[in-house]
Amino acid sequence: MSSPCQPATLAELAEAVRSAPRVIAVGAGTKPRLAQIAGSCMRISTAKLTGFIEYEPSEFTFTALAGTPVREIAAILAERGQYLPFDPMLGEAGATLGGTVAAGVNGPGRWRYGGLRDFILGVRFVDGAGRVLRMGGKVVKNAAGFDLPKFFVGSAGRFGVLGEISFKVFPRPAATRTLRLRAADDAARVQILTAGAAARWELDAIDAALDEPAVYARLAGPEPALGGLAAEILGRFPGEELPPDEARERWRAVGEFAWAPPGGSLVKLVITPLQLPEVAAWVRVQEGARAWCSAGGNVVYVARPAGAAWPASPWPGLRLRGDGELWLGPRRSYAVQEAVKATLDPEKRFPGLEE
């Protein structure tokens, strides 16, 4: 068998979990803060836990091992004209399916049909006692048992190690168009975000740049339908359509956090669209901070150079990169959360949520 820290099967993964008093799973390390644990904690790499278990294009479902890079998944789905509509992030950087679920980070496409939580169907995972357990299912509709697959989205490896994951997929739209709409200030950004959300256009994505006066809107669907929709949007909000290469590069930069200073810290803040001006003002007073608002104004990613001190955040947040506390902003904790932790990880083999 392979090294205990690089299991290649679920049985080996379970064995790896049992082999140390404290363990944390790591994928490609693209969101390193999640696995940055103080003290001794064995790192279990999912690097060898890769590949599709099954893919049924006619069912709109696939099951893959947790270490499979999302880039590979996207490529295989694309061959059959399908995709994960939430635009898995950090594909070029090597992000894995398991790490993506554990971090709970969605791309701009989550706007239209929902995010990881809306497409995950089932999981096979290893609990803190080293047991391989399955929850959820492999079909697109299932209401049997408690929805542990959803629970694992954003769970940061603190309740179990994901071994294999089943997802629903959708047919990939034939064409896309990206519009850059002028937004002179934050009030204009909010106006475009909320109007775009309510309009008949069914936008595929709508993100706001915070360091240029612009909102980016993406249409997706059959090519002959998009021209008229784009023209109507540009009639309402001045701006321009991006040439295909520029559009591709724009969304690539969003998906890879290419705008964030290298080596610095990166956090995800959960907001609502009307909070954007306040969040933007908070970001702007911080030295060297850059930010990108995604998912129609429901999330802001903020990056700062290494070493910069962060003020307390008024909004709930998760640190993906850099030193400092994992969670930012106001938090609530309940006895039941401890009880669920004790159920899945009685010996506290995985780090606590606060670590």
Binding site: G114, K141, A143, L229, A339
Partner: protein
Amino acid sequence: MSSSAYSPVLRRLVALLPAGRVLTGPAQLAAYESDGLTAFHARPLAVVVPETQEETIAVVRFCHAEKLPFVARGSGTSLSGGSLPVPDGIVIALNRLNRLVRLDPAQRVAVVEPGIVNLAVTAAAQPHGLHFAPDPSSQPVCTIGGNVAFNAGGAHCLKYGMTSNHVLGLKAVLATGEVVEFGGPSREQIGPDWTGLFVGNEGLFGVALEVTLQLLPRAECFHTVLAGYATLEQAGDAVAAVVASGLLPGAIEIMEKLALEAATAAVHAEYPPGCEAVLIVELEGPREVVAVERGRLEEILAASQPVEIRPARDAAERMAIWKGRKSAFSAVGRLSPDFIVQDGVVPRRRLGEALRKINTWSREMGIRCANVFHAGDGNLHPLILYDGRVDGALQQAEELAGRILRMCVEMGGSITGEHGIGVEKRDYLGVMFAPEEVDLLRRLRAAHDPFGLANPGKMFPESSAPALAQSGLHPLEKSGVISRE
């Protein structure tokens, strides 16, 4: 009833609440003895009707302190016996805890109490061009609290997901008495998805007090097509062709012959003659998109050997197609004194095979069975007809239901797509999950409810039989308000 007639525990419960909240009269209790799974009934000790979140919390904390089992209930439309009372416990009826707490059209969010009716949310959102997407066919009466507890579905799940996909956050009182708040108004979240874990708990974790729902803009344009086929296989092949084409219809439904006949008799629905099956496909979206996609859909259907294709030419024709579809269940139900509905799921490509098996068993066992199903997501709805007054008929019907459930699991599907396990399918939890997985589910329940007081007897196999059998339609069904699907 004078207070001296109450048992000591009920006297303490009555003392806890404003007057009139606790019902114990036999006639009052009778209305709560059963739910949409009419084969079972049980009389609770009392029914409590709280009017505020504080009263609800007080009742649950009282139950915890007194070790008194409780069953939270909305409108009692569960098809899996999910709100069946327990004889040694109380029912907490949430119909008066039904405020629309906040409607935020700009951010497309509604905050509601659990007793609000599903369709009332959409009614409130409609002036703003918005709606609440989950549309179980009991939506004129079923409550959001019940939708949350059982993760209710509907005809639009392939594209839009189930209730859980539209719940952004919630406040609940757990069976321990702890009040929790998970999630919030944002569509994004951080940390483990506690909201997602709660939705679909079948009432085994506690009682939702306030639910934050996402609202969606209503599609600008719909295009609905009804196509008749000489055989069920051809209808199934047409579904496969639609799905393979890259279209993502809002709904794909199939009705079988017995259901077509019943709908024709009940609501004068008209179907092409000589059809064993009818397929309904609905496209929706901006008009430019639908204009392109409808051409594509027509090509696909024309090549699928239909007997006839009938596109809805206007809103009235579209409504007529849906009226026939949505009435099919209660219509078939009128053909028989009793029926049970299954909602197992099979992989879509095995729909034809699954239906052949069901029909073979149905013939062999001499039990009539009608099929209407959400073809787009492989969600079967075999409706098994029986006469509860005939000795052994219910058992026979359950035997057929059991075969169907096992088949769904063997084909890689699920024992329930949207009705939940409840009382009805609890003996099949172990068919779908391994013993250690059932054990994990039990331990997760215990983490929320260590004494097992919240909705006992549901989801998990138990040794005791749940309740007595009865016969006949649900009162709301008789009046045509609800149907079972």
